[in-house]
Amino acid sequence: MTAAATLPRDARAAAAEGPLLAVRDLTVHIPVPPHVLRAVDGVSFELNRGETLGLVGESGSGKTLTALTLMRLLEPPLAEMPRGEVVLEGTDLMRLSEIEMSALRGRTVSMVFQEPMTSLNPVMTVGRQIAEPMVRHLGLSTRMATMRAEEMLRLVGIPDPARVARAYPHLLSGGMRQRAMIAIALACRPALLVADEPTTALDVTVQAQILDLLAAMQREIGSAILLITHDLAVIAETAHRVAVMYAGRIVEEAPVASLFAAPRHPYTRGLLASIPRIERRPEPTLPEIPGMVPGPAERPAGCAFAPRCGRAQPRCAAKAPALLPLAPGHRAACWNPEDG
C-alpha cells in the first residue's frame, strides 16, 4: 500500500506533486456497420490526489464508457477498441495485462456503480464481499478481513455492522447496498474512486445521505473521486472541478464555482438553464435546448453541438473546436464562447 493512499492529504498540496490520474486523448470508436460510433472521442483530463472531479453529461455523451475504459472494465469485443493513455500514479493502465490490472483494481483504483440492487453478488454475504479485496490485495487472513469488513460497514454508516456483514444483499435496502458498495470500493483505501452515477437509482433523501457519506469518506481516506453523473445539482454539491461531456467529447472543464457562475460553452449554459429549480415565482416556461443529441450517423463534422446551438457560426459546422483555456483552470471547446 502506498503511503499516499493511506494518508489523508490536503488536496492542494498533493496537486503540487503532479496529478494522480492523467487521461490523455482517450478514444473509443466502435464500428456499428455502416457507421463508426465515436463514443469517446479524444477525452483528456487530470485528477489530483484527494480531489473530486465531476464528469457530467447526458445519456449517450460517453461518460460511463470513459469510466469503464479507464478501469479497463470493457468486455470483449469492446475491450479492444480504446486508444489513448490513462496514467495513474505514473503507470499507463492501458498497457497493463488483465492480471496486472487485477492487482491494481480494488487496491489503487476502485469503482462504485449505479445500480446497487444488481451490483452485489446475491449469493455471497456482504461481509465476504467486502473482505474479498482485502484478502486478495492486503494479504489479510479471512478472519482479519472479516473483522475489517465490519469496521468498514460501521465507517459507511451502517448501524448494525456485525449483522449486516453476515447478511445477504437482498435483505438490504438500496441505500444500504450502496453503502456496502462504497465499503467494498474503499476497503483497501484506494487512491482513486470512480463513482458512476452512485445516487441516480436512489431516493432523494437517501441520495443526500450517500453524497454526504462520499464526502466524509474522502476526508477520512483521502481518495480522489471521479464522480460521474447526469445531475448538475449533485456535481454542484460534491465536486471540486467539473468536466462537461457532449457527444463523446469534453466541451468544458472548470472549477465548480467558476462553471456554475459563468459557463462558457453554450451547451453548459443551456443545460444549467434548463434545470428546474424550486422558486417562489417560476417562469411560465423552462428554458430548453432545442433538438436532441445527434445519433452516430448524424454527428456533424464540426462541433457536435452546433445544430442545437444558438450561437453557431459557419465554422462550427466545419471544424470541431479544441478544448482551450479561457480563464485560469477554465477550458471550453467552442469557437464562439459565451462571455465570462
Binding site: R107, S119, P122, R136, H170, L171
Partner: protein, 317 residues
C-alpha cells in the same frame, strides 16, 4: 422448509391424480388391449377372450376400473400384472436399480463433460473451441440416439470386440464390478451424448448470462482475478438455472433411457415399458407412469431445495 416440502407434496397429489387420469384415459380409450396378445394363440376362441376380459375386469365401465385402481393405490396396492399376476410394484422395483444406475452414470458423465465444455465455451466465447463445441453439441443433438447406439455396437462390440454389446453382466459374473463397468460403458456413452450436448449449451448460456451481470463487473472492479471470478462469483449463480434444469430433465432422461435400454438390452424400466406397452399391460404401464411422475416431482422438489440452499434470495414458500 418443512412447510414448503409439505405444501409441495400436497400440491403433488392433484398432479398425480391428473397424471393417472390422463394416463388411464389414454390407455383405456385406445383401441386394442391386453387381450390381443391372446389372439395370437391359435387355440383361443371368442368365448375364451370374453371370459378373460371379465377376469381382468376389463368388461366394467372405465370409471369403475379407474376407481378400483385408484383405491388400490391409496391402500398401497399397485395391482397385479395381467400376465403373470405379479405385484406391479415388485415388477417395477426389480427393474429400477438398473435404470437408476444407467441414468446416474450417464448423467454424471454428461454433467461433468457438459459443464466443462459449456464453461470453457462461455469464457472463450467465439474462440475456435467455442465454435467447435457449439457445432459439436448441435451435431450430437441431431443424431437419433438409436442410430448412434447401433453404430456404437457395430464398431465397439462387433468389429473391435472391445466391449460387450448388451446386457448388464457377463452371465455367472453377477456382482463382478468390472463386468458391470464393461457393460455400462456403451449405454452410458450413448445416453450421455445427448445430455452432454444439452448441458454444454445450457451451461454456456447460463455462464454467459451470469458473466454479464453487474456483480461480475463489481468483482472485476475490486480486482478479483478471472479464475476466482469464475469459480467463486459466477459458478454459484450459474448453477441455479442448471439445477432447475436437472429437475426438469428427469422425464427426458427416462425417454432417453427407454431407447438406450432397448438397444443395449439393459434390464431396466425402459424395456419393461416397451414390453408392457406392446402387451398393453395396463397395471404396469400405470404403475410406471406414476413412478416417473413421482420421480419428476421429487426431482423438481430436490432441485428447488438445492437452489434455495445456494441462493439466499429464494425462500421456500
Amino acid at each position: 422448509m418443512i412447510g414448503f416440502v409439505a405444501r409441495r407434496l400436497l400440491q403433488a397429489i392433484p398432479l398425480l391424480i391428473g397424471v393417472s387420469l390422463i394416463g388411464f384415459g389414454l390407455m383405456h380409450l385406445a383401441p386394442g388391449g391386453p387381450l390381443a396378445v391372446y389372439t395370437l394363440n391359435p387355440t383361443i376362441q371368442a368365448q375364451d377372450i370374453e371370459r378373460i376380459r371379465i377376469i381382468f375386469g376389463l368388461d366394467q365401465p372405465i370409471h369403475v376400473q379407474y376407481v378400483k385402481w385408484a383405491t388400490g393405490i391409496f391402500s398401497g396396492n399397485w395391482g397385479y400384472t395381467f400376465f403373470g399376476g405379479r405385484p406391479v410394484l415388485d415388477v417395477i422395483l426389480e427393474r429400477l436399480p438398473a435404470t437408476l444406475l444407467l441414468m446416474g452414470s450417464a448423467l454424471s458423465v454428461a454433467i461433468l463433460l457438459g459443464l466443462s465444455i459449456g464453461v470453457l465455451g462461455a469464457v472463450k466465447r467465439y474462440s475456435v473451441f467455442d465454435v467447435l463445441a457449439t457445432t459439436g453439441a448441435l451435431f450430437a443433438l441431431s443424431f437419433p440416439t438409436f442410430w448412434f447406439g447401433l453404430m456404437a455396437i457395430f464398431v465397439f462390440a462387433i468389429e473391435l470386440r472391445w466391449l460387450p454389446s448388451g446386457g448388464m453382466w457377463e452371465l455367472g459374473e453377477e456382482g463382478n464390478i468390472l463386468s458391470l463397468l464393461q457393460h455400462l460403458v456403451l449405454p452410458t456413452l450413448v445416453l450421455a451424448l445427448v445430455i452432454t450436448a444439452t448441458w454444454s449449451r445450457y451451461s454456456r448460456s447460463a455462464f454467459l448470462e451470469v458473466m454479464h451481470q453487474d456483480y461480475m463487473r463489481t468483482a472485476r472492479a475490486k480486482g478479483v482475478p478471472p479464475r476466482a471470478r469464475l469459480l467463486r462469483h459466477a459458478f454459484p449463480n450459474a448453477a441455479k438455472p442448471l439445477i432447475a434444469l436437472l429437475g426438469v430433465e428427469v422425464p427426458f432422461l427416462f425417454s432417453g433411457a427407454l431407447v438406450t435400454e432397448t438397444i443395449f438390452g439393459w434390464p431396466g424400466m425402459g424395456r419393461l415399458f416397451v414390453d408392457a406397452l406392446g402387451m398393453k399391460e395396463y397395471p404396469v404401464l400405470m404403475g410406471m407412469m406414476m413412478f416417473t411422475a413421482i420421480f419428476v416431482i421429487l426431482g423438481n422438489l430436490l432441485a428447488d431445495i438445492a437452489i434455495a440452499a445456494i441462493d439466499p434470495r429464494v425462500r421456500l414458500r
